[in-house]
Symmetry: C5
Subunit: 269 residues, 5 copies
């Protein structure tokens, strides 16, 4: 069957946000979610800067990396927020997606992950004090599948407005890279379990499970548009993204910072 005009338009507009009108409640909820996300990220820049002043020099870079991630993700989320505000217009009853000029897109998220994900992964071997050559090798081996995962996912997500074959095919490819990445992360965790001081040996294990649970939210958000193009799906997806963002960056950063603070103390700092 030849693609209809609507199919074409759908592919052009990229994300389902550009296809569904929202109720006032849904629109406000979406604004709210994005605003809370960027607000939280910006606010914790300060926390991580101060945290870096309290840990031993060799771990100082760990909270700094979190501060960098906060700044970068905060900017990106603030941009999503402005896009959201600019992409809908209130017609007196509903918020209509604007058909021209302003197009909402989630693609900036993937762009931002390209910066933040390698940083988040590199934090792990540094926090867990792997030896320097090992650290470089392992950071590299985690970053490669991670970036491939993001870029294949970025390519696939343009299919969400109708071309579900594209969405699913590239989703599966992306997941293969995700699994490869997880194997590498697991390797770092094993090292961490071996070399953690006995009082802290539960930490790398807990962080592993936490990591799995929170990074796993992203593929769910990716697949969600297949459930239908409704306002609720749009809002729930933004909510999932935001929960994932706060969990994998902000809370994860607090965990690692507290771990290195304890470890600094145990190492006599």
């Amino acid at each position: 069957m030849a693609p209809t005009i609507t199919d074409v338009a759908a592919t052009v507009v990229g994300n389902i946000e550009n296809l569904v009108p929202l109720t006032s409640g849904q629109y406000t909820m979406g604004s709210l979610i994005l605003m809370v996300s960027y607000g939280a990220h910006f606010a914790f820049i300060l926390y991580f800067i101060m945290a870096s002043l309290q840990v031993a020099p060799r771990y100082r870079i760990v909270p700094i990396m979190s501060a960098i991630v906060m700044a970068s993700a905060g900017l990106s989320l603030m941009r999503e927020f402005s896009l959201w505000e600019a992409s809908f217009n209130f017609d007196g009853a509903l918020y209509q997606p604007l058909s021209e000029g302003n197009v909402f897109t989630n693609a900036f998220r993937y762009g931002n992950w390209t910066i933040t994900v390698p940083i988040l992964l590199t934090q792990l071997p540094i926090a867990f004090a792997l030896s320097r050559p090992d650290l470089h090798k392992r950071a590299f081996r985690m970053a490669i599948p991670a970036v491939l995962m993001i870029w294949t996912g970025l390519y696939g997500q343009f299919g969400e407005t109708g071309d579900f074959a594209r969405l699913n095919l590239w989703g599966v490819i992306s997941t293969v890279f995700f699994v490869w990445m997880l194997i590498e992360v697991r390797g770092v965790i094993s090292q961490a379990v071996k070399n953690s001081p006995p009082q802290l040996v539960a930490w790398p294990k807990n962080i592993w499970w936490y990591f799995l649970a929170t990074w796993g939210i992203y593929p769910i958000a990716y697949a969600l548009p297949q459930l239908g193009q409704t306002g609720d799906i749009v809002v729930v997806r933004q909510l999932l993204f935001s929960i994932a963002d706060i969990s994998t960056k902000l809370v994860y950063g607090i965990m690692l910072s507290r771990y290195v603070l304890r470890r600094s103390a145990l190492e006599g700092y």
Copy 2:
């Protein structure tokens, strides 16, 4: 009785600010209130950063948390301010709420509280030097009812433009969570009274009463729209919100910072 068009429109527009024209004086007063609020919050970021450099390391996080709250609430209030400015237009005699495109909403306040309230509550057990496991447990037990209080209130406040049953029902539910939260806070205060150095034992008690008086302003602001949809109500409500904001975040932060400064000195720092 079936809802009229006006009822529907009222629910859609969310807050009474979108329904009443303001006199020049009222409009200016509203701008002024919001601007003083965000200005004060931003300005005191600096104060709390400097304060953190003067207290013992274990208390350092207390003023830092205030700085984070200042930054986050300042951004949110600046946004309320811009919304206010964009949502009314001067027609030569009155400031008319704009019927399309720009809709004022207080919902961002609730979004922001979701970040700031858990931080404000967690400051208490840290400042009062509760032991670490106790601290975590209690912070958690305060934060849960607090977040439920905020979200139920957020849901209810959409009723303020006409659906007072919704406003009141969810207001009561929110108040139940508020009381639960207060019981948990009271528990922390009791611990604080026990473990404070004798010279400072009056502080936790005073902070308790101050806490009650200032947090109690929010439900009053919530209920206010039932008194009528007039410009005065709109302005008085923004004023109540602002007094509450400055009291529960800024002045409260100064109090806790001074307490930990004294306590640092008494503990020989």
Copy 3:
């Protein structure tokens, strides 16, 4: 005589800036004055932060308070500047005040003073090393008439576009609070003269006269619109406000910072 349409409009628009067309020179001069003011305030944030690192810990808060005042007043003045730019439009010969949408107002100044004036007053007893309980009591006793002075003045200044009875009545009330505040300030100065090291005993006296001369500019700016609604009056008033702002906040802050720097040195820091 019943008020004419013009009288009504005049009250509505609040400040004389909204009534008089400006020549190109006057408009540019106004922009320039406001821009130099906010530029100077922002630029000196840095100065006061650095100054705070060079004085004894007990005085450190004095330059910090100046930095806070700089940030807060800078934001407010930048806002006056943008308002100015948005409130006039060049018609090819003159800058015409825009009749709708954008209304210039000086009210933000009063809003900002509500934050900055109590801070400026509290700097005095801290810089002059009054004992702690005395310090609190006196700061409080200065702040109360000060805030009443500002708010009564704010209410009165809406009369400047025609209702001079209002302007003058509330101006007099405000001046009563001003005098009360000055008596309290004088009390602090007397204490300061007593407890200053002999080498610095001239400082509190000089600061007193400086204080009188510079704070006294504000009531003159307040009364000025009675001399006529002309472009020159508009510009001269903004100039007076700016000279007063730079004198009572920035230069005053430098003076107090230098005083505490000297005093730190004499006290062996």
Copy 4:
């Protein structure tokens, strides 16, 4: 001869930038010049802050003053840049100055100098370690002619769009103040030559010649519009201003910072 409409319009619009259409290359060059200028000023704030941490306490204020100048001039130049962008519109072939609403003006430059020039001059006696009472007296004696020079120049430059008598008369008056200021500067340099450590005695002399050469660019830029109202003149003037700005503030600041760094080392810091 009575002034024509065009003469009047010319005086109203203030600067030649509002009279000449620019080619695409000229417009881009102008944007580029202004953007490089403000970018350079902002970027070096950081440099001067770090520099201040490396010199002896008594000289610390010298790089701080440069940081303040960078911030202040950067803001002002960013404003010139935005004005430039807003004041021309591309008509498909040329960039036409907009006849209403947006008027380009160089007057902000003069406003900014009123803040920065006294700071730049005061840096000299501090860097060259003049004794304290001498320092104050000399800073004051340099600042007075400097400010008179700027304000008479500001008044005169409004003549550049046609009233060359005004431009030249006030240019000469301004130059008289410039010469007076230079005599005062020369006095400071002489003191500096006397009290510099022998290894550094060439520095004040070199700074003197550098000062003459770079401050001398401003009167050339001032006089330039007499050569004609063409796009090239417009661009060359902005270029001269920018070269002068970077030379008299940024590079000059680096020079003084390096001098006090060396001097700190020689004085055993």
Copy 5:
């Protein structure tokens, strides 16, 4: 053959970005590339500031210079991003370059290089600890051909929309300066190989090859428009620019910072 209207227009609009409509995917990819670039630059300001606190004083300026470059390039790239967003409009099917008012230009990049390239080059002899007089001489000798390379390239790139003779002629001239600059850089590297501690002797050699590979991307991006005026060429060029920017500034800065950190340690800091 006389130039057609289209030829003229082409020269006027400066860059091929103003001539080709983009698909949604191409437009989004371009936005994404620019946004990731500026985000990465801004985020790493923090990294370099913290890095500077960990190296020996004589090398401290090296990461500071990277922080300055990050800030300056970040601003410039954010500007390219806004220009990109403002220069295309979605017509329902394609993103059309806007014919008036908003013209995209790469010229700001060249303006920014004029600030950043001399800083990047001067980092080399400082990091490699060349003796002071040698350092100055060599920094100067590298900066001269570099700036000539940039300015001749800037002039030439206006030819990319059709006047390929101009593009190529000035490209060759620029390349001559590039080669001259490389010879000077090679000289610094040779010195560095001689004076590096034995454990670090591989670093200057590796940096040399890295330098060649990454700076070499710019001339490729410059020449690219000759392959055709298509959306793909537009996007690939922005991608090349961004890869080059991140490689020659950010990653290069990390390399130099790590080198001086190691060297500080070996020199007993």
